[in-house]
């Protein structure tokens, strides 16, 4: 299959060999599971269980809270110990409502799980989407966007390709690699079911060529299906970004503020495809995921399949704890991952890796003045000019930064990585994107307030006018009554 070049990008030291040969191991049930109500992009889910409720594995514990939202399910059988605020696996360390489940150790599936769909390719695409939504599946590559919403794209766009993202371009992470090697058939089946739900005639699986075993396993699993092609894509960070993978496969660049669906392509992660396979074939909701636990400070790096809601500290303990004090613990890969506020936070649906990085593995050199080398411009995979945007942001000119395209930055971190002066470029862009979004929210809130104030004023005015009219009518009636000649009855009475 012909591939197309993608601009920019970097070639970091991948360090995947630490976990790539260790098969996925299941984590024993921890003492408590913490299910946050916001594990996905969109509206938070709403708890449907209360303290003391007995839950079975796979039973819904929080329902979807809006159009873009996702349900959550009990990862094992047990009792709801609390519904309380608990630290989120988020750099802010803010608390968020969380359902705490105490496992009973029996790990029993709920009896009322929906049955598997025997022939999903004969089923109505809507039935598949509903099943995916009911199973609480979100994008498991890290973004955690509700998958059912993405599977709806076929109703509004003419789709040609479902692209399965097995690029896994982040250093250290090997969870997708292992998944493709060990469960290739499940991934391929999930992908074909998704393609049916989307109405996309072909499936392309893109895997970076530094994972030859995964490519081989997936090619073998897909051999029986002429509509599925497995492609090795160049090893070039950030190939796993959906826009860049789409460009490598189709040769077309996704326009700013558009979706890949506008090009007829929808991208899903390999772990998502496997979750869809389980949901559709067996009616099992998303209750576990594979997490790469790695980094120089981890004693025994591994790929661990953990129930959602397991504390990160338990994952780390399972991998032998720390061999030396970590400088930083990161959720995700080293390029785009976010620091964790503490180890006492739960594993969530979008958590692909936990990296305990040593001082040698982090770059904390003080930043120096920019020497105008232009490296950041050359490597920016989005074709932006990081040096210029950062200058705007440094001078608080967020509008200027927005005009130079900061909102089109995918925060891949290549510019920060390459900068010889160690300028925290991507930090500037993350700040600017957050601040611009906050400004936008404030603006929308103000518009809503204005509309409310206007309708209130209008109503008050109307009420005053109505009151006046009623008073006038009453006065007129009184006057008329006073002036009216005596009726026959009155005369008779007189």
């Amino acid at each position: 299959m012909r591939l197309f070049p993608v601009r920019g990008g970097i070639h970091p030291d991948y360090r995947k060999e630490r976990t790539s040969e260790s098969a996925i191991v299941a984590l024993p049930l921890p003492a408590a599971l913490y299910i946050p109500l916001q594990q996905h992009i969109g509206a938070a889910s709403e708890a449907v269980v209360a303290v003391g409720d007995v839950v079975k594995k796979g039973q819904i514990v929080a329902r979807s809270g809006g159009v873009v939202s996702a349900a959550s399910h009990a990862p094992t059988s047990g009792r709801v110990a609390a519904v309380t605020d608990f630290t989120a696996p988020h750099p802010s360390g803010l608390p968020q409502p969380t359902i705490v489940i105490e496992p009973d150790g029996r790990d029993e599936w709920a009896a009322d799980l929906p049955p598997g769909i025997d022939d999903p390719f004969a089923a109505d695409p809507k039935a598949i989407r509903d099943r995916v939504a009911a199973s609480g599946i979100v994008g498991m590559g890290g973004a955690a966007f509700p998958s059912a919403v993405k599977l709806n794209l076929g109703t509004q766009h003419k789709l040609e390709t479902l692209l399965i993202n097995g690029a896994e371009c982040e250093p250290y992470l090997t969870c997708d690699d292992r998944l493709m090697r060990e469960f290739a058939a499940e991934v391929v089946d999930g992908a074909r079911v998704m393609a049916h739900a989307l109405g996309a005639p072909r499936v392309v699986v893109g895997i970076e060529t530094n994972k030859p075993q995964a490519i081989e396993a997936m090619t073998r699993a897909a051999a029986a299906f002429p509509d599925v092609t497995v492609v090795g894509v160049p090893v070039q960070y950030p190939m796993g970004s959906e826009r860049h993978l789409t460009q490598a496969i189709t040769g077309r660049e996704t326009p700013a503020r558009k979706l890949t669906a506008d090009l007829g392509v929808v991208v899903h992660n390999v772990a998502t495809a496997r979750a869809v396979h389980h949901a559709v074939r067996f009616g099992r909701p998303l209750v576990r995921r594979v997490v790469t636990v790695s980094g120089g400070a981890i004693a025994r790096p591994a790929n661990v399949e953990a129930p959602l809601g397991t504390l990160v500290s338990e994952l780390v303990a399972f991998c032998g704890g720390f061999s030396q004090p970590p400088r930083r613990v990161v959720n995700g890969g080293p390029m785009m991952g976010q620091p964790l506020p503490s180890l006492e936070v739960p594993v969530v649906k979008g958590m692909s890796g936990i990296l305990a990085l040593t001082l040698d593995e982090t770059d904390e050199k003080p930043s120096q003045p920019c020497i105008r080398c232009g490296s950041c411009v050359t490597i920016c995979p989005c074709g932006l000019v990081p040096v210029e945007m950062a200058a705007f942001i440094r001078h608080d000119n967020l509008d200027g930064a927005a005009k130079s395209g900061v909102m089109d930055c995918v925060s891949c971190g290549s510019c920060s990585y390459i900068c010889p002066s160690h300028i925290p470029l991507v930090h500037f862009f993350n700040y600017a994107k957050g601040a611009l979004n906050a400004k936008d929210r404030e603006r929308r809130h103000l518009d809503q307030i204005k509309a409310l104030a206007e309708s209130h004023a209008l109503r008050v005015e109307k009420q005053a006018a109505a009151k006046k009219a009623a008073a006038a009518a009453a006065a007129a009636a009184r006057a008329q009554a006073a002036a009216a000649p005596l009726t026959d009855d009155d005369k008779a009475n007189a």
Binding site: Q38, A88, H90, P91, S92, L94, Q96, P366, S367, Q368, P369, C370, V387, A390, A391, I393, R394, S421, I423, P424, H427, F428, N430, Y431, K433, G434, A435, N437, A438, K439, R441, E442, R443, H445, L446, Q448, I449, K450, L452, A453, E454, S455, H456, A457
Partner: protein, 179 residues
Amino acid sequence: MLLDVGSLAVMGVTLGAVLGTAAKLLAVPNNPLEEELQALLPGSQCGQCGFVGCAQYAAALAKGDTPVTLCAPGGKATIEVLAKRLGVSADTDGHEEQAPQHAHIKEDLCIGCLRCVQECSTDAIVGANKQLHTIIVDQCHGCAKCFKVCPTEAIEMCTVPVTLSAWHWGKPRADQAHH
């Protein structure tokens, strides 16, 4: 008698006509800038800027004799659009950045008097006579008018909490950010 009535009537008609035409010919048009500025303000007439309402603040802004930083419920977003429209630099340094606020009713103190409900210009308070009132936080913009009229001090102003979806990274510190 007839003469008096007649002359007064003639004078009245002539003077009326003169005044009427003068009003038309010499009319001062409403300052369009004022209306434009007023449209940029929240329109809740809360008076926290020190003027009677949004229209009066807009008029003062149009004349250029008041800073653009006075609208508390409008926040930074309003300051910026006003400054942009008026072509002045939004000097927010002296302006103390106040985090967005919302009102909250302490349930054990509310007597259900309806005064706050009548005062609210965005219909953000729900309640009936002698029934507990409550605030719809999404519709409240923290103008504090209800706070001022409550006879039992049952209303407090709270800072809108930072949620996970609203949180974002701060600006890199100056020592990390040479250029």
